[in-house]
């Protein structure tokens, strides 16, 4: 017995028509039905943050949402960060500061950090640390992730100031 529902998921500005059971989580639909495997799955119960994507402007755990609930909302995944061959400042910062080793947690951290810095480019160190404590990394020991996000924050700030001139 299958009770598939037809829906359209808008991911990184592109519509994906999919047919999924209601029990399919958003992360499964993104990976299996939209073939965007940049978003990772770790625990599948909300603890690790590997599946973090931005839905309707908020970073969320995509393993704790059903795909059907994301219909009509803009979804952003790690594939949408770079423009063409140019990496997003946060991606560059993760490279420069060794913010990853195996890279499994990286897409989740990137989406969490991008959402946080876009919403509050002037976020303080303490609050930033609190936000980043949401996701797990088994490799880096976190220090370089924190360093990378802080550096990107400064980078994005100076750019804004330059524009404001």
């Amino acid at each position: 017995m299958s009770n598939k529902i037809d829906l359209t998921l808008n991911i990184n500005g592109q519509d994906h028509a999919v047919s999924v059971e209601p029990r399919k989580t958003l992360v499964d639909a993104i990976r299996e039905d939209c073939a965007l495997t940049g978003t990772h799955i770790g625990c599948e119960h909300g603890v690790c943050g590997a599946c973090t994507v931005i839905v309707g402007g908020e970073a969320v755990r995509s393993c704790l949402m059903f795909a059907v609930q994301a219909q009509g909302k803009p979804i952003r995944t790690v594939e949408g960060l770079a423009s063409g061959k140019t990496l997003h400042p946060l991606q560059r910062s993760f490279m420069a500061h060794h913010g990853l080793q195996c890279g499994f947690c990286t897409p989740g951290f990137l989406m969490l950090a991008v959402n946080t810095l876009e919403k509050n480019p002037a976020i303080g160190d303490e609050e930033l640390l609190d936000v980043l404590s949401s996701n797990l990394c088994r490799c880096t020991g976190y220090q370089n992730i924190i360093l990378a996000v802080k550096a990107a924050r400064e980078d994005m700030r100076t750019k804004e100031e330059a524009v404001a001139g």
Binding site: M1, N3, I5, E21, P22, R23, K24, T25, D28, E44, H45, G46, G49, T52, E58, A59, V60, R61, C63, L64, M65, F66, V68, Q69, L112, T116, D130, V131, S133, S134
Partner: protein
């Protein structure tokens, strides 16, 4: 795909929600609010509801309003709504300090206040606040109509509440704390964002320098959060100071019957209860 199959319903009004719940409740139909507790439970297949009634599209439920001296929190209101004070007085401040202890940002933007109350995890911060402030839970169904359930009758045990099958917890009402009310919260957990081992909420007012209107509740330590009259009595009519806070902490330690699990023994939890009551009082006083 981990969760078992279910049928999905997406009502847009409260009336429609109640209709769907009436129709499907006997068939293990449930409310899907933020999904931050329900979906993990379904992923483990500890829950296999046959029907989910998703209330995320019911915009009437998304409101926080002040009415008759109460803060009324609709079933759609997310944890993150409390990060900035929802109200200018001590209550808004208390809720803003408490919410920082609930999980993490990405969970707070989905999970709801009422979902926490309905789920009734012993270590839920909102449940401890609801118990401390004698919250009123407004439940509604087509069968029993609207019922207002006081906190002391609502929390029955670990994840067990007075809600009937098919009832929607439509809103929770918290009394607005009068100006000058001292309010404090403290919790202890092993890692940031983890469920707490124990927590305490304390509020009081000062009359001629003496404490009155004393409310102390403890969460996380027992199967359900509750006020501790033994600890409250220690403080009434006394001036706030560290010595008397310690006495209240000691009374709380004696009064609780803590959960005893393999990783955290009852005695250890009792000690944490004592410390949290003292810290909540200190934070209220400061």
């Amino acid at each position: 795909m981990k969760p078992a199959q279910f049928q999905y319903h997406a009502p847009t009004t409260i009336a429609e929600t109640l209709d769907l719940l009436a129709r499907y409740a006997q068939d293990d139909g449930r409310v899907l609010a933020g999904g931050q507790s329900l979906v993990p439970t379904m992923a483990f297949r500890l829950a296999r509801p046959k029907h989910l009634v998703d209330i995320n599209g019911v915009s009437e439920l998304n409101r926080v309003r002040v009415e008759n001296g109460r803060l009324c929190i609709g079933a759609g209101v997310r944890h993150s709504a409390f990060e900035k004070p929802v109200e200018d007085g001590p209550l808004g401040g208390l809720l803003a300090s408490v919410v920082r202890h609930i999980a993490h940002r990405p969970i707070r933007v989905r999970g709801t206040f009422c979902g926490s109350i309905a789920h009734a995890d012993p270590a839920s911060e909102w449940c401890a606040v609801a118990a401390a402030l004698d919250a009123e839970m407004v439940a509604e169904s087509k069968i029993s109509g609207t019922r207002v359930i006081p906190a002391r009758e609502f929390f029955e045990g670990i994840m067990t509440t007075a809600l009937h099958e098919g009832e929607l917890l439509r809103e929770v009402r918290l009394p607005i704390l009068p100006k000058g009310t001292h309010a404090g919260f403290a919790e202890y957990s092993r890692r940031a964002g983890d469920y707490a081992i124990a927590m305490a909420v304390a509020t009081y007012r000062l009359k001629n320098g003496m404490m009155s209107d004393m409310h102390i509740a403890v969460g996380g330590a027992e199967a359900a959060p509750r006020r501790l009259p033994e600890a409250e009595r220690t403080l009434i009519g006394r001036p706030p100071n560290f010595g008397i806070f310690q006495a209240a902490g000691h009374a709380a330690r004696q009064a609780v019957d803590p959960i005893d699990d393999p990783s955290i023994g009852a005695d250890y939890r009792r000690g944490i209860v004592r410390a949290m009551v003292i810290r909540a009082l200190e934070s209220a006083a400061s």
